[in-house]
């Protein structure tokens, strides 16, 4: 292979007071943004707000007039642009396949330039096609004009993944698709996102897409960054009118007031409950066998304790029982207001609570899943 990847892991991407203007108009103005390794950062905003410009400054397709863009602490200006771009996957707004190359030609273009041999390229292309749910046999040799919009989009993603880059830049990848297909591709992407384990910067102007896919969302307006935060933060603490308008927090908020905890909980069976006097090492085996990240115990006080898997691991062979390591846990009745429950979770810095139906535990409430369920 001709070159080594510039980075195998993304620790962070930092944009520091980055400005780019065309003539006397700012495309991006004094923007500060940090993308953490492994997260999916959404850039959202109206048309012309500077999303694409921001994205393209990361792989040096556009050079900022001032400010600094760095990856893992190194200024991107110190990298050769060609090497930089080959280390970063880029999914282009409006599909962007090369019309004179067939599917394997498009996906394998960079691999070929990197000097991979034919057989290896074919193998990699098949692997990627399978990954984006297109049977390689029937798609390898097709030309872009012989593909539907959704298929082209999948090829675009496969091509961006060809070199297995640790960072993906995606510019409205589902923007050109009809709503149904769009939802389907979003769902698929949600699933593969975890598998990919990559840092992703994703541009969209669809707030539902943003909340569905994003770990954090950066709202841009008029060349500036307005607010960055998790979907919850944006909904509950919009920094200004524009943000609440974009996240539509009034409507969601009202919507949420009508909901009860039971509407959004995950159901729970008795398999989650263990004996309080069980030694940690036995509990560990049981939890691993059952694939549980968390278990619960009834305490003598009548309350319920939470046993996270990592606590059990930590206890190891120390002979401690589950009662010794159990953590306290927020509990809500199933008919409590969902909004109040979420607010309280947030205040306590917890991400999970137990839901009681009468005296019996019936479910779990996860704050992050609630928001995904809403959009």
């Amino acid at each position: 292979m001709k070159f080594k990847k510039l980075f195998n892991r993304i620790e962070s991407i930092k944009l520091e007071s980055v400005t780019k203007s065309y003539g006397d108009r700012f495309a991006v103005r004094d923007l500060d943004l940090e993308v953490r390794g492994g997260e999916l950062m959404i850039l959202i905003g109206r048309s012309g707000s500077g999303k694409t410009t921001t994205l393209r400054m990361i792989n040096r397709l556009i050079e900022p007039d001032s400010g600094r863009v760095s990856i893992n602490g190194a200024n991107v200006e110190d990298f050769d642009p060609v090497r930089l771009r080959r280390s970063i996957g880029y999914v282009i707004q409006n599909i962007g396949l090369l019309p004179h190359l067939n599917v394997s030609g498009n996906i394998g273009l960079i691999l070929k330039l990197e000097g991979w041999d034919q057989a290896k390229i074919r193998e990699r292309v098949s692997e990627l096609l399978n990954f984006v749910s297109l049977p390689p046999k029937s798609f390898m040799d097709r030309y872009p004009h012989q593909l539907s919009g959704g298929q082209q989009q999948r090829i675009g993603l496969a091509r961006a993944l060809a070199m297995d880059p640790p960072l993906l830049l995606m510019d409205e990848p589902f923007g050109a698709l009809d709503p149904l297909l769009r939802t389907q591709l979003q769902d698929e992407f949600c699933k593969i996102k975890k598998e990919l384990g990559k840092t992703i910067v994703f541009v969209t102007h669809d707030i539902n897409e943003a909340f569905k896919l994003g770990d954090r969302v950066a709202i841009m307006d008029n060349a500036s960054l307005v607010q960055v935060g998790t979907p919850e933060e944006l909904i509950f603490e919009p920094s200004n009118e524009l943000v609440s308008e974009i996240v539509d927090s009034k409507r969601k908020y009202r919507h949420m007031e009508a909901l009860k905890v039971r509407d959004m909980m995950q159901s729970l069976d008795s398999g989650y409950f263990l004996e309080g006097n069980m030694p940690a090492e036995i509990a560990l085996r049981k939890m691993v066998d059952a694939g549980l990240e968390v278990a619960f115990v009834f305490k003598e006080s009548g309350t319920v304790g939470k046993i996270p898997l990592n606590e059990v691991l930590k206890a190891g062979n120390t002979g401690k029982s589950l009662n010794d390591i159990s953590k306290s846990l927020l509990v809500f009745p199933a008919d409590a207001s969902l909004f109040e429950a979420l607010t309280q979770l947030k205040e306590e810095g917890e991400s999970m609570a137990l839901v009681l139906g009468g005296e019996m535990p019936v479910g779990l409430l996860f704050s992050d899943r609630v928001l995904q369920g809403l959009v």
């Binding site: 792989n59 771009r85 080959r86 090369l98 019309p99 004179h100």
Partner: protein, 227 residues
């Protein structure tokens, strides 16, 4: 039935076939055709090489584009007979100046179309390539050039017609080829030779142009789906 035997029984057709046979034999048309195609092939091949090379060169150094294209345009306006004569002092008589003149004529259409084709590839495709991490040379070879191929083929097709014409004219200056047979016919005032050779040259030109057209269309289908 309508087979060759029957055809020759119709008096006019019989006469024509006899005349064709006569001219073909006395004027050595098989040999002349080979000479003709030999000059044609060499001239066209060199024109394509030079034409594309110059097209790429002026694409890469746009400052040269105007002077080079204007210069080639001037060459184009020289009448072909005059150009042949002008080349005589340099190349002597025969195939040399003929091939040289064909090349001089054919460079312009190929160069012009190569240049236009490379320059007019839509910006979006170039941006895709750059975003993927192609360097400028790779963008030229892997994206611009293939997407310009239909237009380049159009230029070559024009060159095919030019070359055919100039090579035929080469008969005037002892280049051999079918032009020589035509020249003989004219000097002897032998109408049969003039007509048969003329028709054969015309037919060859149509076939070659048709072949070039087929290739051009193939390339359009293969590389031109975006336009």
């Amino acid at each position: 039935m309508w087979n060759g035997g029957c055809l020759s029984e119709i008096p006019i057709i019989n006469d024509v076939l006899t005349e064709v046979q006569r001219v073909w034999d006395t004027q050595l048309l098989s040999l002349r055709t080979l000479e003709h195609l030999y000059m044609f092939t060499i001239a066209l091949f060199v024109s394509i090489l030079i034409g594309i090379a110059v097209g790429v060169l002026i694409y890469r150094s746009p400052k040269l584009a105007d002077p080079v294209l204007n210069g080639l345009n001037v060459v184009e306006t020289i009448p072909d007979v005059a150009l042949l004569v002008l080349l005589l002092p340099i190349f002597g008589i025969g195939a040399g100046p003929t091939v040289a003149a064909s090349i001089l004529y054919s460079i312009l259409p190929i160069t012009r179309n190569t240049y236009t084709g490379l320059a007019n590839v839509p910006r979006e495709y170039v941006e895709i390539a750059e975003a993927l991490g192609l360097n400028p040379g790779e963008v030229l070879m892997r994206v611009r050039f293939p997407l310009a191929l239909p237009l380049i083929a159009g230029g070559i097709r024009i060159a095919v017609v030019f070359t055919m014409g100039v090579v035929t004219l080469g008969g005037l200056i002892a280049a051999g080829g079918l032009g020589a047979a035509l020249q003989n016919g004219i000097q002897l005032y032998d109408m049969g030779t003039i007509l048969v050779t003329g028709a054969w040259v015309g037919l060859l030109a149509v076939i070659l142009d048709g072949g070039a057209g087929v290739i051009e269309n193939r390339l359009k289908v293969r590389y031109g789906t975006w336009s």
